[in-house]
């Protein structure tokens, strides 16, 4: 009998619009000290599974399972009171995704660490306090005694997550569930937290369930993997087996859609279609509408679970079919557009200082968001601007767009200073693409109005012509024309990002500045957008500046790389040089921290 044994767990949620079958018949097993990675995109049901285990689901959720066993105990039969005292925190603990809001802002760190264990009687007050101090030191918080008295808002995101980990470990639980523990953190901090979790797990002999959307993170940190899609586990088994020989079409498609750091950049395979609505009970294969290998029977019956404990999948494809799938290897990326010599944008000694005052009588506080940055961007190239939060990359992008003026220094766009340029002229030279597709389109305007707006502002053409141009743009980003009169709220994230691209291109700018264009999108959609951007760049001879924190994306699409730290560019060079032989120590740490796949799966 496994340590943690879940069989046929289903969760459905009562919504005003009907029942949402969010999790359907999933089975998981975990042994003592083992780690399991549950991987899936948003809407796959991975978080709900963990919340069900912890009894943290909302009231509208109904949970059914054949078996939910933990160390021989039948969990559903445990009363809420006993569950809260003996299981939660004491034997199974959980840490969450948003460290910034997961701690109560009005209580001190020390109190939040010790209160639960003292209340349930596991520790006396002084025992709890000394254990808390030990754990704070162990998770890497300097000056633990001081931090105990402080409040959450005085700590950074990374520090708060460490506190959450310490809090979860107070009673030495046997299972730790980590729900996207590092997604909201910077890359270098991510690596530190993942290492910390692995070390702690080994030290304490803890089992761990790691929930994430990032396959790369999972590849080096877990023993077993379960891949979830549409509320079901489509593939499950030993991590090495699943990653090196993925046998479910979804897993393969997911692996092929992710930009990688190793080897040459390969064509990203986008997964067509969108995640299905889960408002009806499962009657067929949930992935079939998007599956390249789908057969007629896939849309009629639910596929069975096939395989062994070591490697299992929910699919009707035979081993032969899989062998044929494996044979198709994505091509290496086609030649990138030629980079010309002439300079489109030239920034020299740009500095931007912000003066803030905490209150009327306090001293003025200076922040150098951008510090003496000089950069020349050549026509046709893709320059990646890499940095973590606080590096100044967003401020710099606003300055390059002409939306903000540098305190000193100048930015010349096609020879003319951006700050003195007529807005109409500037709009014809450089346009932005933003990170969050949900806030980059005006919710009260139709797509036609949104896309045509830059032309309307110029007032050069008639409205009939503008509409025609909008139609052409929609076509260029491969969206159907009938969407022209719909509203952003009717579109998915990926579709909205395409609309943003259409709007940016309608004035035929020479340069695009893309601020984290794919970070807010699901993995499968990311590939669509990155490929679209690449194609457009080639066909329209665009110059692109891509701001990102994701080194894998940089590796996929960039010609040159500029690394920013604390407002300065600490390294600038071709992608080949920066990745192959980075000269700056910060660049090296960024590359080391980026999650990488341990094995090369695609070329098997």
């Amino acid at each position: 009998m496994a340590f943690l044994d879940i069989q046929n767990l289903s969760i459905d949620i009562d919504l005003p619009a009907g029942k949402l079958f969010a999790v359907r018949d999933i089975s998981l097993k975990l042994e003592r000290g083992q780690s399991l990675g549950v991987v899936g995109e948003s809407g796959s049901g991975k978080s709900l599974t963990a919340l069900a285990l912890m009894r943290l689901l909302p009231k509208a959720a109904n949970v059914q399972a054949d078996v939910m066993g933990f160390d021989g105990i039948d969990l559903p039969s445990v009363t809420d009171g006993t569950f809260g005292k003996d299981i939660l925190g004491a034997r199974i603990s959980m840490i969450f995704q948003e460290p910034m809001t997961s701690l109560n802002p009005v209580y001190s760190i020390g109190r939040q660490l010790t209160e639960a264990s003292v209340r349930t009687g596991h520790f006396t007050h002084s025992q709890a306090k000394s254990r808390a101090l030990d754990l704070l030191a162990r998770v890497g918080i300097p000056e633990p005694k001081l931090r105990m008295q402080q409040y959450p808002h005085q700590l950074s995101g990374g520090q708060r997550q460490r506190v959450m980990i310490a809090m979860a470990l107070m009673l030495e639980p046997e299972v730790l569930i980590a729900d996207e523990p590092t997604t909201a953190l910077d890359v270098t901090v991510q690596a530190q937290i993942m290492d910390l979790l692995s070390d702690l797990r080994r030290e304490m002999g803890m089992a761990m369930i790691l929930i994430t959307h990032d396959l790369a993170v999972v590849s080096s940190n877990v023993d077993k993997i379960a891949v979830m899609y549409g509320g079901e586990i489509v593939e499950q088994g030993d991590a090495a087996a699943v990653l090196s020989q993925p046998s479910h079409p979804y897993t393969r498609a997911l692996l092929n859609a992710i930009p990688r750091l190793d080897g040459d950049a390969r064509e990203l395979q986008a997964i067509p279609g969108t995640v299905p609505s889960l408002m009806a009970p499962p009657t067929a294969c949930v992935f079939a509408p998007r599956c390249a290998e789908a057969k007629p029977v896939c849309t009629q019956h639910r596929p069975p679970n096939v395989g062994t404990i070591a490697h299992m999948r929910r699919c009707i494809l035979t081993d032969d079919d899989i062998a044929k799938m494996v044979a198709a290897v994505p091509a290496v990326v086609a030649e990138r557009a030629q980079v010309k010599d002439d300079v489109v944008l030239s920034a020299s000694h740009v500095t931007r200082v912000f003066q803030t005052r905490t209150s009327l009588f306090a001293a003025k506080h200076e922040i150098r968001a951008v510090d003496n940055v000089s950069l020349d961007i050549h026509r046709g190239e893709t320059l990646a601007l890499v940095g973590e939060s606080g590096s100044g990359k967003s401020t710099l992008s606003k300055i390059l767009l002409g939306l903000d003026a540098p305190t000193t220094g100048s930015v010349l766009l096609a020879g003319e200073p951006v700050t003195q340029m007529q807005p109409a002229k500037r709009a014809g030279l450089v346009q932005p693409i933003f990170q969050d597709p949900y806030s980059s389109l005006n919710p009260r305007r139709t797509l036609a109005e949104i896309i045509a707006r830059p032309l309307v502002l110029r007032g050069e053409k008639s409205s009939a012509d503008n509409l025609k141009s909008a139609r052409e743009m929609l076509d260029m980003v491969r969206l159907p024309a009938r969407l022209l009169y719909s509203y952003p709220s009717q579109l998915s994230g990926g579709q909205r990002q395409r609309v943003a691209i259409a709007r940016a291109l309608i004035t035929s700018p020479k340069m695009l500045i893309c601020d984290e264009p794919t970070s807010a999108l699901d993995v499968s959609v990311q590939a669509q957008i990155l490929t679209l951007l690449g194609d457009l760049q080639r066909n329209l001879h665009l110059t692109c500046v891509i701001i990102t924190h994701d080194m894998a994306v940089v590796h996929q699409i960039a010609d040159r790389v500029a690394v920013m730290l604390s407002g300065q560019i600490v390294e600038l060079g071709t992608a080949h040089d920066v990745f192959g032989s980075p000269s700056n120590s910060y660049t090296k740490s960024l590359l080391a921290a980026a999650p990488q796949f341990k094995q090369d799966t695609v070329l098997a």
């Binding site: 395979q269 986008a270 279609g273 509408p289 500037r426 159907p480 679209l532």
Partner: protein, 299 residues
Amino acid sequence: MSSVETPDMAEDLPRAPRQIMLDRAKKHGGFLIGATILLSLILIAIFAPLIAPMDPNAQSLSSRMLPPVWTEGGTWDHLLGTDGNGRDYLSRLIFGARISILIGLGAATIGLFIGVTLGVCAGYFGGWVDHAVSFLLTAQLALPGLLLAMALVFIIGPSVLVVICIIGVLHWTYYLVVTRAATQRIRSLDFVAAAQSAGSTPRQVIWHEIIPNLIPQIIVIFTFELGIAILAEASLSFLGVGIQPPTASWGLMIAEGKQAMFYRPWLVILPGLCLFLTVIGANLLGDGLRDITSPEGRN
């Protein structure tokens, strides 16, 4: 040709925002009730001369203080009885609707212009403009509104126009607070930056991008302010510093009926009920509109 395909659009699009709101409106009890009440009232106010059985100012000393028709002593000539001067109560109540609706709409509109203008400017431009407006807001809140209104109306002279203006000028704070917060929030959204990159001037950004997103909230506030303005006028008239006799205002009618209220409670109860129902209608409509336009904010 790359492998990116057009996303599968076989399924229908989710409904458009307008359609969603209409569907919600049809099912929302509070909204429907509130809308019915207010619409009826507006119609009553407009067609008052046609609906009222008698001239509201026609006095008749022989039929003073008659009770409503369902009480002993009532007659069918005066369905809701008469007041101390023999004037038909039902007719006066109907004409009272005119005063309430007129003053309510007028004052709420004045407040709208002042509050929204200040709010959008403070929210968009920030800096010293914001500080100045915040100061103005605190000063306005510190002013005891009713007191000042009373004093001003009394001093300047009570007329319908004066009452509308004074109530309007003293009731813009709700508009300000909400539009300022909303403008600040919207200003930080990416589509505003996109509009600026496309070449929009601040004026164009405010009119084309920001204000359309404020309209649902402004309408909701308008309905609440309508209720507040109607009650404010009623209070002023009750205290004698609002609408003057012989005009029929519900607040004034309550003041006039106060002396005899222990033996003839209907004189006080009926106009008060009218006020109560009107303002409930406005509030239900406001709550309903809020639910319909943004249920996320509802919990």
